[in-house]
Symmetry: C2
Subunit: 407 residues, 2 copies
């Protein structure tokens, strides 16, 4: 639960409350409580104190500048390296602190994301001062889906925060495919744009694949093009120019949490193009022995039980119970699902693909939902943009992952 | 063991004996015996009789035409659908037939390859008569490595046999990279060429990756380009224009042997770009639950023991003992290794990555080495060429594999 006070919001910024809520949810806070305790339903900022933190440790956000909305990312709320203990989490959830303190180390995605953003800001400063170039990210948004608009605002805000050059292209739902393709071609030829992001889904009448394929591979900031995926899967060749953001975020969490991957058994649940498939290849490239499970897999429990590392990315609320987890295993939970919560005002709350309360008792390390993998995705989008800008300048890219050494 | 008689070889054809030997080895015959029993060391053809077959069944090759060298492929030696029994194999190996007859079904690669070649020949006839186009395969060979020359001759002969248009480009070891690139560019623009194959390895002074990348994706007959590999790995998008030949051959063997893949546990030993990685994706696209093991994997035995389908592609002689195989499992052995055989004239004989004699007792089905996966590779090269020719004509391609249905 988060208590705040400060200068308040201007009226024209009220619309951004939903974005703020999303950021805070990503940061692991219960938004419902927060809004309920804001007497006037308008959040006020400047300092932020975690109520639970008063007992378990507290943190303060530096006073915000007038353009504080650009500061409302999870990254700016916690200092790098701050890892919330299980006790804090339990208290945030309103659980009593009489529970045993033993349990998994919590892998704090927002803290790691904050660290990466800080590194990226420094990289951007370096690119500007040493090489006279500013990483440019173009975001194409079609229609007015609330979720898409919110994500796009978050992405643009994060890009502003690290000093990127931003281009927005917003189209009505009625845009034609040719208009979108023309937009992509224009961005392809704009030397100030290094990454092009087309927010999905696109309206039904647009051929999504055709629009995405129009993005030049050296501006494919999502890393989803066949060529980038191919180079990700091929060993020993050209590295991909960009990695899919969520899988790359999972790997950063493992590496920055000093989780050993080489020689370990990794089980990936889900084989999607955006998470399961690329993360399996990344783990394999780091010498894990990887099994990919999916809807047709038999005896999923047996696979999970032998895993040293579980990546859950199947999108079903708490489908992996705690007793499937091997004692000491690392659990990276990519799922963001809602589950019924009658006590909540909304009637539901967010949860992952893994039963956190069960798994935290046996795992060695685990990511919470929200606040685990979620905040990493945008951080990796920023990293991809910096890498594409470096590539355009003929500079070596930041390393994407530790490579395999075996055969 | 194979006994032959017939019109004999012209002097200028003696150099092709090594190719013939390779073909025969691929067909599962012991070349040593064959050469020893040819009193004049020059094979004579026309009819071929398997000595062991006299007891277990026999077959006769139709009298060869004067251009019989083009007939010397494994495909022409056995009728489609002919599956050698374990007894025949044992007798060919000089083992007594007093062994129990029970054991795995032998998946006969040369028979399946023959069937595919027959289908391809018919496809080529159709393309010629209905669409006025002849599939064209260009083969680029550098230097005079015996193995490369032999493989190239086999590939060209197989291409001739099915009626392809063939282009040969042969360069001395001293060729420059620019010369090779110019050759590839010329072949890229030749409308009669649908597939370009650069025989590897190239000499040290040539950047192999650069030469391969110069091949246009729609002429990448080996299916190794990042774009083809990416499209192989991505679900639901564009299918790759060509599949890597050996992995595709493994899948054809499974499908044509009516081995159920969906929902099965598949363990791939080896994660190479040319076999392990693509075959794992193909199996996953057919709904298998796939684990990829490699040099850093721990407890390989445990993985293999739970596999319904084992793909062994690690290149170590008989490293998988028979008692690792789950009873009833299917074993596809991609390895081609030599092992000491003091009783043989050469002092060694060919073997796979799996201990065949041990595995055949417990497996449900198994490929022999030689005569299993080997003959499939060239057959799939031909299939890729036909598909690229069809693609160039705007025709739908032959199906590459049965697709997954789950999520």
């Amino acid at each position: 639960m988060l208590l705040m006070n400060g200068p308040g919001l201007r009226n024209d910024e009220h619309k951004d409350i939903d974005t703020f809520k999303l950021c805070m949810a990503e940061s692991g806070f219960q938004i419902k409580d927060f809004l309920e305790r804001s007497s006037d339903k308008v959040p006020k900022f400047a300092t932020a104190t975690c109520a639970a933190g008063a007992a378990a440790g507290s943190f303060v956000v530096p006073p915000l500048r007038p353009d504080y909305l650009s500061e409302l990312s999870p990254a700016s709320l916690l200092a790098p390296g701050f890892v919330r203990s299980r006790t804090v989490l339990a208290e945030e959830k309103g659980e009593t602190s009489s529970q045993p303190a033993a349990g998994a180390r919590i892998i704090d995605g927002k803290s790691v994301a904050a660290q990466i953003r800080a590194e990226i800001r420094s990289q951007v400063d370096d690119l500007k001062s040493q090489h006279g170039t500013t990483p440019g990210l173009a975001v194409v948004l079609v229609g007015n889906r609330t979720d898409s608009s919110t994500y796009v605002r978050m992405k643009k805000r994060a890009a502003d925060e690290v000093g990127f050059y931003s281009v927005d292209r917003t189209f009505p739902e009625s845009v034609t495919e040719d208009q979108l393709l023309a937009c992509v071609h224009e961005l392809n030829t704009d030397p100030k744009v290094h990454g092009i992001l087309v927010q999905l889904p696109l309206p039904q009448h647009i051929n999504e694949a055709r629009v995405l394929e129009a993005i030049q591979v050296d501006k494919d900031v999502d890393g989803f093009s066949a060529q980038n995926i191919g180079n990700l899967c091929l060993r020993g060749g050209k590295p991909p120019l960009a990695l899919p953001c969520t899988p790359a975020g999972c790997i950063e969490l493992l590496q920055r949490s000093e989780i050993e991957v080489s020689g370990k058994e990794a089980v990936v649940i889900g084989r999607s193009n955006i998470v399961g498939m690329p993360v399996a290849h990344l783990l394999q490239s780091m010498d894990a022995t990887v099994t990919v499970c999916h809807s047709r897999s038999k005896d999923l429990a047996a696979h999970v039980r032998r895993a040293d590392i579980v990546i859950a990315a199947i999108g079903r609320a708490e489908m992996v119970p705690g007793d499937w987890i091997k004692p000491g295993a690392t659990v990276i939970d990519v799922g963001v699902n809602s589950k019924p919560a009658p006590e909540s005002k909304k009637g539901y709350k967010l949860c992952g693909d893994v039963d956190f309360d069960g798994a935290v008792k046996v795992a060695g390390a685990i990511t919470p939902v929200p606040g685990g993998v979620g905040p990493m995705t945008i951080a990796m989008l920023l990293k991809n943009t910096v890498n594409l800008a470096r590539h355009a300048q003929g500079l070596p890219r930041l390393p994407l992952r530790r490579k395999a050494t075996g055969t």
